[in-house]
Amino acid sequence: MTRVLDDTLYALLLFVVALVVVFLLMPLVITIGMAFDARDYLGNFPPRALSLQWFKHFFSDEFYMNGLTTSISVAVASTVLSTIIGLTAATALAEGRFGYKQALNTLFLSPLVVPSVVVGFALLLFFSKIGLYSGFLPLLGGHVIITLPYTIRVSLAGLVGIPRSVKEAALVLGANEWRAFFTVSLPLARTSIFAAAVFAFVFSMDDVAVSLFLSSVNTYTLPVAMVGMMRSHFDLSIAAAAVFMMVVMTTLMLCVDRLSGVNKILAGD
């Protein structure tokens, strides 16, 4: 009797898990399928014939390409800034022995607590107060502040892992602090620093909320363009854009995973 009940419940459990897995994967399958749809109207899934027309549309549409160009330039610039500033903060946190270290740690991770809409709204008000109404700089500022917690955290994880004795050896052998940093710490932490950079790039490309506030008619990111298209003409060029983003991001994340294990970073400390 107990066995029967146990088995039934176990079967039920497996059924629920299977349903959830289908629920998690189905939308992505549908989007990928629909991006290759040969029909030029919104038909039902699955497509009857396949074509690359929506990708052609995406890559030849000026609205999307303008967004993509801005997205990539903002992502590259904010990645460079965020990685360098993150590295300086992480170095100070890893090696410094000061009392307010915990407070600084909290400050540096705080953008994760502030809802991104609030960050976007606050930056919009601040930038217009100082006369920066539109263009590249507001977007860059927004992306630097939302990616910094990740670059600080990831490069800190790499720097903390270096045994103190290695650097002390360099100091004993006569290297000064700077030289010890550039010849010992930096090369040893390079995997984490690279991972930090990829993270910054991915999170910058991914952002919607902050960019939506800081975009203007001529300077907007690809996700902002996609949101705009979802509202105005809902066609499958958005699916093609989505598949494009999926391929780029997945490739980048696979790179990081090979290097350092996304697992550890997403799971937190």
Binding site: L9, T31, I85, V117, V119, A239
Partner: protein, 290 residues
């Protein structure tokens, strides 16, 4: 100068760039929002002028029933979706945590991470397609007896979106918790004649309670400040507090009111992320002590 003090001088120097960035891109802008939230609203221009008088009106307004509705809606949907996410995540996490093969366990949690690494907007759009016109929108709404354009169906779509995003996160948190539980405890209960389902309810679930609370709180705090999910799936019919802030900017250009809502949302987020976990662990400790 001694070597130590030179090192700490260098550290202070290294802290300059991040501190400048955090001051100008986070602290001053948030301080400005706090200031704006107490200013009297005058139409025109971005933000109230520096001479606008101070008032509590922007906060008092939020107590109005129309505003309260949005806060209630946000909380209700965030709460329901967090509960559903944790319930759906538990069996998945259990199956993964108890996998014998190291390879399959890695692959399964890798798949969860892969889903999480897909861009937010891409996932939201995928759900919109799936639950909307080209996917299962029509059969699903017919099955539920709702019109695909009704407010209830839209609300269900937002709910599905929140669950879609937070089930994998909750599962990843719970895998670690469940792995830490000694599986012999359940085996021992079983060998003493307790049915398997009962031993799970009296052993596995109570022992993973801290993981369950953590997963629930993380999901709740992220859901409460959700923006993209209700923006796209809510189609203007379901508005979260975040969307209200956005509409203060994009539609009515009432910045003092948007500031007041921002401050309230920020306060809620801080309470959910810092105070609540602390309170729970405190209560936990005191019950253990008692």
């Amino acid at each position: 100068m001694t070597r130590l003090s030179r090192a700490s001088a260098r550290n202070l120097f290294l802290l300059v760039p991040p501190l400048v960035v955090f001051t100008f891109l986070l602290i001053i802008p948030l301080g400005n929002v706090l200031d704006q939230s107490f200013r009297h609203f005058e139409a025109g221009g971005i933000g109230a002028s520096d001479y606008a008088p101070y008032t509590l009106h922007n906060y008092a307004e939020l107590l109005d029933r129309a505003y309260f509705f949005y806060f209630a809606q946000t909380f209700r949907l965030a709460l329901i979706s967090s509960v559903i996410s944790v319930i759906l995540a538990f069996p998945i996490a259990y199956l993964i945590a108890r996998m014998r093969s190291h390879f399959w366990r890695g692959l399964a949690s890798g798949a969860l991470i892969a889903i999480l690494s897909v861009s937010t907007l891409v996932r939201v759009y995928s759900l919109l397609l799936t639950l909307g016109p080209v996917g299962f929108g029509r059969p699903l709404s017919l099955f539920l007896g709702l019109s695909p354009n009704s407010a209830t169906y839209t609300e269900l779509m937002v709910l599905a979106g929140l669950v879609y995003f937070h089930t994998p996160v909750a599962a990843l948190i719970l895998i670690g918790t469940i792995q830490a539980i000694n599986s012999r405890l359940v085996e021992a209960a079983q060998s003493l004649g307790v049915p398997l389902w009962k031993s799970h309810f009296s052993i596995t679930i109570p022992l993973s309670l801290h993981g369950i609370t953590a997963a629930f709180l993380i999901s709740l705090s992220v859901c409460v400040s959700a923006f993209v999910i209700p923006l796209v799936l809510g189609k203007g019919k379901v508005l979260f507090v975040s969307n209200l802030i956005y509409s203060r900017f994009s539609e009515v250009a009432n910045y003092p009111s948007g500031s007041a809502i921002s401050i309230v949302l920020l306060a809620i987020a801080i309470v959910l992320v810092t105070v609540l976990p602390w309170l729970l662990s405190y209560l936990n400790r005191s019950t253990v002590a008692a």
